[in-house]
Amino acid sequence: MSTTYVFTVSGMHCASCGLLIDETLEDEVPGVQRAETSVRKGRTVVTADDGLDPAVIAAAITAAGYQAVHALQT
């Protein structure tokens, strides 16, 4: 089973930033299945294994150079 997390992300200035966040999350955070970032909406939607701490995901986005706030979980 998987959970969908929504993060509000700021500090992205172009499409490359969104790509980088998706790449980083899918490659470097164990448990993340899929990440989709919209630069225009300033939002990252992450599909991950159940039980993954959203703070870990937020930390990975922060480490990539952006500010992330966990907004929603479904």
């Binding site: 200035h13 499409a15 490359s16 980088l20 150079g65």
Partner: protein
């Protein structure tokens, strides 16, 4: 002649005439912009994408997400790093130069008329200033980014996952699809240049400029990206300031071309900053013979002299522009209000029939609006 200009004339002779006009000023600003932007903006972020590609290629058999990616990259030597960076930059250079040529050609197509050229340049200048404001952190302008269609970003992402040895170069080519504000500003400059060659050169010089910091901060620091924190912020602001300057410069060029009263030279006249009082009517530069007035203005490299000449209204008048070892922009001579546009020789006279002059200022400038002068037409009391 400037070395860069010399090279471009040597490589692309047809472009020479136009290149003389702006190359020395804007190409250097663009190079400087690239040098700064290589450490911030999309250039740096693309370094992260490239680093991801390289690390995936080095551990191709892992399945699923790999937390060890950073460690794998760290084991690679410096030489191993430079090959993909070089490939990426070559690919990026090719696609951006090609796009620059297309944008320049577009500029040529819409700039056939002088007034349209002024409008294009004013538009480009305003766009660049807006990008610059976003870059220095003005919130209202930060949303002003180009959002590529999802299919484009998917395409770039697919390139970043390729296992091919050419993948870095292909990713470089594809990076043209996801430009950020800084790159968009340079694209606007390419359009404003109004020449395919110059457009290509502007974009190429920008990409070359990004190379050093892209390599150091973008790619290498992708492993320890946090280290770049404060530095990145300063670079971003410096980049923004430079974009603003380029934008203001481009905008002013457009205003000068259109003969606008808010162009820098006009404001300088209004504030009497130029200190160039109208020359005496009896001077040898203005002569009247058999009811026909002749005015002589000299064109030297970087200026028209005198910057302001007083001439008589109501007489049929011929303007002689006397070139004296004139190089560069001054050779493209424009009188916006009369729709006159001439290419001056390096040495020698160019005669322009002005017709019967009406009282008031008659401004002229070079084709790009960098150098200006005026005739002050006054009623003769005698």
């Amino acid at each position: 002649m400037h070395p860069l200009m010399w090279m471009s004339c040597r490589w692309f002779p047809p472009s020479c005439e136009r290149l003389h006009s702006t190359v020395s000023t804007s190409l250097f600003s663009v190079l400087l912009l690239g040098l700064l932007a290589g450490g911030v903006s999309c250039a740096a972020v693309q370094g992260g994408l490239l680093a991801g590609l390289v690390s995936r290629q080095r551990q191709p058999v892992t399945t699923g997400p790999s937390p060890r990616r950073a460690a794998a990259v760290a084991q690679a030597g410096v030489g191993d790093d430079l090959a993909p960076v070089g490939g990426f930059l070559v690919g990026k250079l090719a696609s951006h130069a090609l796009l620059g040529a297309l944008l320049g050609a577009l500029g040529t197509a819409v700039q056939l008329g002088m007034h349209l050229r002024a409008m294009v340049q004013i538009g480009a200048g305003l766009l660049i200033i807006a990008m610059g404001l976003g870059q220095v952190g003005v919130k209202a302008f930060q949303g002003l980014t180009f959002t590529p269609p999802a299919s484009w970003t998917r395409l770039v992402r697919g390139r970043a996952r390729s296992q091919s040895a050419l993948a870095p170069a292909v990713l470089g080519v594809a990076s043209v699809l996801i430009p950020c504000g800084v790159t968009l500003s340079v694209m606007a400059l390419a359009v404003a240049s109004g020449s395919p060659w110059q457009g290509a050169l502007i974009m190429a010089v920008f990409v070359v400029g990004t190379a050093p910091l892209f390599t150091v901060l973008g790619f290498a620091a992708a492993r320890a990206r946090r280290a770049a924190g404060t530095w990145a912020k300063r670079l971003a602001v410096a980049t923004g300031v430079l974009i603003l300057a380029l934008g203001a410069y481009t905008l002013n060029g457009g205003l000068e071309l259109s003969g606008s009263p808010v162009a820098a030279s006009q404001i300088a006249y209004a504030l009497a900053l130029t200190g160039d009082a109208p020359a005496a009517v009896t001077g040898p530069r203005v002569s009247v013979e058999a009811g026909h007035q002749t005015v002589i203005v000299s064109a030297v490299t970087g200026a028209y002299t005198p910057a302001n000449l007083e001439v008589a209204a109501g007489l049929p008048t011929t303007l002689i522009v006397r070139s004296d070892k004139a190089q560069g922009c001054v050779r493209s001579f424009v009188i916006p209000s009369l729709n006159v546009e001439k290419i001056l020789p390096v040495n020698g006279d160019t005669r322009i029939d002005l017709g019967v002059l009406k009282p008031g200022p008659l401004g002229y400038s070079c084709g790009m609006g960098m150098y200006t002068g005026r005739l002050t037409v006054t009623e003769q009391t005698s």
